[in-house]
């Protein structure tokens, strides 16, 4: 399988704080990679490399290469960054729908990208709501405010919104940590469905979730990538003592 994303010796500093220490990692296309590790280990920082969201944090310094389809996304023209963020969708911990209708939440990304063909937009909204396994629940109330949905539905709406602009990569930062078990299950099933078409990276504190949804798992600690391997290997016989201690809950 070709590598969709790759970092080569990436170091990242927030001011004096060394948040990522020489991370080299290749992420295969059409796979789900889970990033695990204790709070402050660098996993979310690493995730945000791929849509250049760290750029928005003052005093951030990044060295090394971050490649998408072989191209260094930190060497592209600043005018291309918007395009990059279109190809890399992101879903956050707390569902954050816009204060708009369900329909407009999904259509928004298309409209700001200059698409005005209403029938195209309608098709795309239905298609992505179906992809996010939300269509059946909302098809009769598309004009209603997104805030009327439950937390789990709002999160799937946010996933539909990310999918609408047809990204190739989806970054998820704790996408189910604020949800009940049923909604969590739906999000996990959705991730499993989506990996046929997208490359997904998910940051999670829930290790069983990492085990259930991902093909590969990376364990971060104190800014280092301690171990990266197939998820089955990590959760049955990890190579590093630190990984073993973390996943078995004997940390520190």
């Amino acid at each position: 399988m070709a590598n969709k994303l790759e970092t080569i010796d990436v170091n990242l500093h927030y001011g004096d704080f060394h948040a990522l220490k020489g991370i080299s990692l290749a992420i295969p296309d059409h796979s789900v990679t889970a990033l695990i590790g204790p709070s402050g280990c660098g996993k979310s920082t690493y995730l945000r490399l791929f849509n250049r969201m760290n750029d928005l944090i003052p005093n951030t310094k990044i060295t090394g290469q971050v490649l998408m389809d072989g191209e260094d996304i930190y060497k592209i023209k600043s005018s291309k960054i918007d395009h990059l963020r279109r190809t890399v969708g992101m879903v956050f911990q707390k569902p954050n729908p816009f204060p708009k209708s369900i329909f407009e939440n999904v259509a928004y990304g298309l409209r700001v990208n200059g698409i005005s063909d209403n029938s195209f937009i309608e098709n795309q909204v239905e298609k992505t709501l179906r992809q996010a396994v939300l269509w059946e629940e909302v098809k009769d109330k598309l004009k209603k405010s997104a805030f009327e949905l439950s937390g789990g539905q709002q999160q799937r709406l946010c996933i539909a919104r990310a999918l609408a602009i047809e990204p190739t990569v989806i970054l998820m930062d704790e996408p189910a940590s604020a949800l009940d078990p049923i909604s969590t299950g739906k999000i996990e099933d959705l991730i499993f469905e989506l990996k046929n078409q997208y490359t997904i990276i998910i940051v999670t504190h829930n290790m069983q979730q990492a085990g259930r949804v991902s093909d590969y798992t990376g364990f971060f600690y104190l800014g280092n990538l301690i171990e990266f391997d197939k998820t089955k290997k990590i959760f049955t016989s990890p190579s590093k003592r630190e990984t073993e201690n973390y996943i078995t809950g004997r940390f520190g």
Partner: protein, 226 residues
């Protein structure tokens, strides 16, 4: 210590107790045969129930740990290995009881000459030592000792293979002990299985400590660093 740690500790102590009991069952069985001690043989048969209840207890321990703690890595391997080890120990327990049953079935003392010629006592000693050593290997994380099982099992196999002709000779030589000779034959067939089960247990010990799967591997790979 985490909650899971304390549950795993209970599991380990249950399995070690079961193990010691089964080792003791084999030892008593051998003594019962050597001294034609019917009381002791009866005790072994009776104690089989205790072995079985350990197996049920360990099954339940493992089921609870899976359901409540979702163990991973070394913890997962311990639970999986415990399930299989206790299953093998239970079968060894069955064998100890069956052999004791054969002793009870004998109508007269076993002729020492028959026990000598068929090598059944030697076989019994080796089987006992093998099982006792798997216990030591588990308790001391000694995978080297566990690996010795693969070679030692061969000695039992040889005694088993030679048994038919030797028992036949005994029947001819001591016709008044023909029935006992046949009982010895049956015991040898049973004891041979203890070697196989010690091997199975050794594989689980190596899986637990080294995360290596040796089942259905060739002999050279198994003996590895021996």
């Amino acid at each position: 210590m985490t909650h899971l740690d304390s549950e795993l500790r209970i599991l380990k102590s249950d399995i070690l107790e079961m193990w010691r009991l089964v080792v003791l069952q084999l030892e008593k069985g051998k003594e019962a045969l050597t001294n034609f001690d019917r009381d002791l043989a009866e005790e072994v048969v009776e104690n089989e129930k205790r072995v079985n209840s350990y197996e049920l207890k360990i099954d339940k321990d493992c089921e609870n740990i899976f359901a409540l703690f979702q163990p991973v890595a070394t913890d997962l391997r311990l639970v999986l290995a415990s399930l299989k080890i206790s299953n093998n120990l239970e079968r060894v327990g069955d064998i100890a009881a069956s052999v004791a049953d054969f002793v009870l079935d004998a109508e007269q003392d076993f002729n020492k000459e028959i026990l000598e010629r068929t090598k059944i006592l030697e076989m019994y000693s080796i089987a006992n030592e093998m099982l006792a050593d798997t216990l030591e290997a588990f308790d001391n994380e000694d995978t080297r000792l566990a690996r010795t099982m693969f070679k030692r099992d061969k000695i039992l196999d040889k005694i088993d293979e030679a048994a038919l002709d030797l028992v036949y000779e005994c029947i001819i030589t001591y016709p008044e002990q023909a029935r006992n000779s046949l009982l010895v034959m049956s015991m040898i067939r049973k004891l041979e299985r203890v070697g196989d089960m010690s091997k199975n247990i050794a594989e689980e010990i190596i899986f637990y400590f080294e995360a290596k799967v040796l089942k259905h591997k060739k002999k050279k790979q198994k003996e590895g660093d021996e």
